[in-house]
Amino acid sequence: MASISNLDYFIIIFYMMGMVAIGFWFSKRHGDFEDFFLAGRSLTTPLLITTLISTYYGLDVLFGDSQLAFTDGVVAWFGYARPTYAFFLIAAFLLAHRLRKENFLSLPDILDRYYGKETRYIGATASFIYSLPSLSLYAFGMLGEVIMGWPPIIGMAVIGGVGLIYTLTGGFWAVALTDSVQFLVMCLIIALAVPFALNLVGGFDQMIEILPEYYFETMGDLSIWLIIIYASTGLTILVEPTFYQRIFAAKSYKNVRNALIAGIFIWGSYDWIVTILAMAAKVGVLQGTITVDVDSNAALLTIMVAALPAGALGLFLAGVIATEMSTLDSYCLVAGGNISYDIYKPAFKPNASDIELIKTTRIGIGISWILGFLMAIAFEQMLGLWVLLASILISSVLVPILLGLYYPSLRKKLAGILSSSFGLLSTLILNIYIMVQGTFDPVEETYILHFGNWEILQEYVMYFTVPFSFFGFLLGILIEKDNR
């Protein structure tokens, strides 16, 4: 448990109560379902910047980036973070414009319009599974333990419960507006931490002098294959349900484009500073100014506790909580929408009123939170779980959505069904097979299946399942052609 003053605790509690208050403020202020789910499609550029950045950046980025920077140096930015910006540019100039042309409300809406209801349900199921907030809740368990000394399950319930309350009550309005506060807290405090951290280790020159040379090599000693794997994780942006939700909720395409372009500078700066702070933590360890046996994924937290004065530390910890809470609320809302708008309405009650839809969305939010909570308790390897969830989404919807968006002549019903179902089933089967038959490698932090001289990492699953989904798409096109 970190050494934290009463002022820091006060700031953290004040922040969490503020989030709940915003949720209650909006609980009676939404009109129809579109207002509840997309904030009436009225998001302006500044609000889009804040909600996009705070949602897409969770603790996985904060601690994932810093973990790599702590052990390998600037490659964390050049090899791991930088490729993602290329996908943001693709999204800004190619994807968002197409998505805004038609009046979609959710990602499965696209699948329904191009391929029919069956593909919609498969896409909604994949989106729901991906959006379960298990990683966020697991992170809250960890934070509760570090900050308050609570058992993980209490941290998950209390901190995660705050996010659940304001999402349930206020819908997307509360999510977007709390995201804005969370954006300011998480960005400002990371920027303010730089002088404190550099001062702690004796300045930037000390970092260059003490750290090994490879810490400043842009590609470090990572293999090209690992860099390709890191870069391909950016693919999730192209089918990310919360990202789509913000594109649909924007006032216009121009707002989305401008927000993404401005956002790249803030994303880039955020990643770079996290990288430098983690490297400063490494210098602190080598100098003996901070704990010598610090774990690489706790590097950032450790140097902040050591460097920041009372009050600033409370703001930093509130910022860390904000970073993940803005992710949890958005995914819970998307999962709730998958249940109500994408499955319940078309399958069981096509004439459902807006009030019924909002009520069902709230039930869906609750279900997703509970399932995420159970998964966070049941799974020991969160990285493996994240790979599973991300590969389910990408393998099921990437091929039919991108091909459908750009090639209208390929929008054939069977192509959509086979592509999404082949992707979904093959991902589930392969992931489970590797997790059951493979061995967990604590160095690589992943499951590995040994196949003769070959090693298949769990991260490689998408290299089999996405082509299989593409094969299903082509098969569907050919069968429909023959039937004619």
Binding site: K28, C187, L188, V194, Y270
Partner: protein, 40 residues
């Protein structure tokens, strides 16, 4: 001052000042966002 250090301070300014500017612009938008909202 090395290139790395200059890059770090530029990033710090972009993140710190940029996030405040974006938040202030959001606050300017807030009244019109709230006024456009229909009450239940």
């Amino acid at each position: 001052m090395s290139g790395w250090e200059i890059f770090t301070w530029i990033s710090t300014v972009i993140l710190g000042v940029g996030s405040v500017i974006v938040f202030v612009l959001f606050l300017f938008d807030l009244p019109s966002l709230l006024n456009n909202k229909p009450k239940k």
